[in-house]
Symmetry: C2
Subunit: 326 residues, 2 copies
């Protein structure tokens, strides 16, 4: 058992708190993808739910706890997906939710946060500035600050994906996990290492936003001055020490991939699997594309963690239809 901050029994118990609409998501072998990639590929589809990402697994826990304690409000910083999820979970429990986001976040994510009834506050700068502003708001207003990856509920909620991956006899050799703040990677990684220790846990991050990967490799927090990637869901610059400690216990490797590979991954998931994903969710396929020899003949599972894309950006990424033959 890895000695992370997470607890396997609590993760099992979390399944009883999370709305079932977010649980037991599709998991299946996609042969068309596998034949193109030279390995067996299974996908865990976290996009077919009311918030189109896995994040509600965590916010369901947070919002339940808060409502159980009589809290009336919560605030979070978000790259977009956590905000939607907290808005959804908070609304269901009568919590006033405030989300602080970067003005540069995809408009579609900001629109949905608003549509779900949350108060939305935009900041100049990136996710790190949003984090500072959210913390200030929480202090001023005396309300709970929900901190993605730091708050154990966000990690243990994500970790319920891990339970679904390893139930029965997991047949795969490696799990490929998008790495941003680390909730998904430490959560799934904890469960996999606890219950299926033979499975390799591989984190994948964009070359343009490599802070956590650099931190994992050097075994200390490394920050970056900027984060430039289309994978807005994982574009942090300042890893959290407590999360890094957990990641060091559960990750077998951390890979960096090029933007062009992320686009190729999205395109392949569309062409071969009929699945729309946001850039962060294509990191796993991108890693296979860049490391074909490493994965050749093996069985990998990749978590398709979200599909909140701007539809027109997505049309550009998958490219135009070819002109018809005359």
């Amino acid at each position: 058992m890895p000695k992370t901050r997470l607890d396997t029994d609590r993760i099992r118990a979390a399944r009883r708190v999370i709305d079932p609409v977010f649980l037991d998501t599709p998991l299946y072998r996609c042969e068309a993808l596998g034949s193109r990639l030279g390995c067996t590929v299974s996908v865990k589809v976290e996009t077919a739910n009311p918030v189109r990402s896995f994040k509600a697994r965590g916010t369901e826990l947070v919002a339940s706890l808060l409502a159980g304690r009589g809290a009336r409000a919560a605030v979070c910083a978000s790259a977009g997906n956590l905000g939607q999820a907290l808005a959804w979970s908070g609304r269901a429990r009568g919590l006033d939710v405030t989300v602080v986001a970067s003005r540069r976040a995809p408009a579609v994510k900001l629109d949905r946060i608003h549509a779900l009834g949350a108060r939305l506050e935009l900041v100049d700068g990136d996710f790190e500035e949003a984090r500072e502003r959210a913390a200030a708001l929480a202090r001023q207003e005396g309300i709970r600050l929900v901190e993605d990856s730091l708050d154990i509920e966000t990690c243990e909620g994500a970790a319920t994906i891990g339970l679904e991956l390893v139930q029965g006899a997991p047949s795969f050799d490696a799990v490929l996990i998008a790495l941003g703040g680390g909730a998904l990677a430490t959560g799934v990684g904890h469960v996999v290492k606890a219950l299926a220790p033979g499975v390799e846990v591989i984190c994948v991050q964009p070359l343009g936003a490599p802070a956590m990967t650099h931190s994992w490799r050097r075994r200390r927090v490394v920050t970056t001055d900027s984060a430039r990637t289309i994978a807005d869901g994982v574009a942090g610059r300042r890893p959290l020490a407590a999360v890094l400690e957990d990641l060091l216990l559960v990750a077998d490797d951390a890979l960096l991939v090029r933007e062009s590979s992320i686009v190729a991954g999205m395109r392949m998931l569309f062409d071969q699997a009929g699945l729309v994903v946001e850039p962060s969710a294509a990191l796993g396929i991108a890693a296979v594309l860049e490391n074909r020899d490493r994965f050749a003949g093996r069985h990998v599972v990749t978590i398709l963690c979200g599909s909140n894309v701007d539809a027109d950006d997505y049309r550009r990424w998958i490219g135009p239809a070819p002109t018809r033959a005359p």
Copy 2:
């Protein structure tokens, strides 16, 4: 209880035979779709599985029965999705599967039937010619002919979707079901009428392939000379009398929709829900688009029955990315 050929207890038992990868598919309210359509919209997502359609629910039953009886082979005619599903289910149980399809079926469906290890025979003409050829092959070779919508397993397999829709307290007012041969409509319709009789069962077919709808309206089999629609999955011309009889017992209405509405439905599912569907699976949304007053303020659920599209056709249907502002 409607006195169809189907049996609710057998449908419940079918859940134990069907590979779980095809069961308990996502079902959720999509608020972004609902706000555009002026009603509450829930989607039942049958596309996130190894064959990208609901058809394997039925072929799992057929293949299990055949294998249990020591059969070695089976043949079916298919517009594409049944063939993939029977190939998958047959391969898992050591059956030699032959699929007869029209040369005009989408290449992607034919490729996948082949990739799944089935023998593929192509005929000139449309689905009805494929049906004749499959029947001839079955006679010649003495093997089981699997007939979609006529064979009770194909209907009762599809009917397991109905169980998933009505479990708990179904909150919706109407279910919108793509209508082709009738397996999906009679299957889901049977369960809804048996277990949630207050829910309206509405079938939707393309104006260009209206044979079953005309038959339902006139209460007798009406055939057509041609079927012209992009919704290749429902493009039959010769309804089966036994299936029509069941449909008359369970359907409250049958609507015909324009091709342009099917395209608009696919586009809306992509833009608002991030879901890729084939034309047949957009029929429900198309019906709401053409009948906004009828559905205003109500809660409808639509079954997204498949996603086997040619990726380039799909790019054309959802349209190009707008050119960027300078």
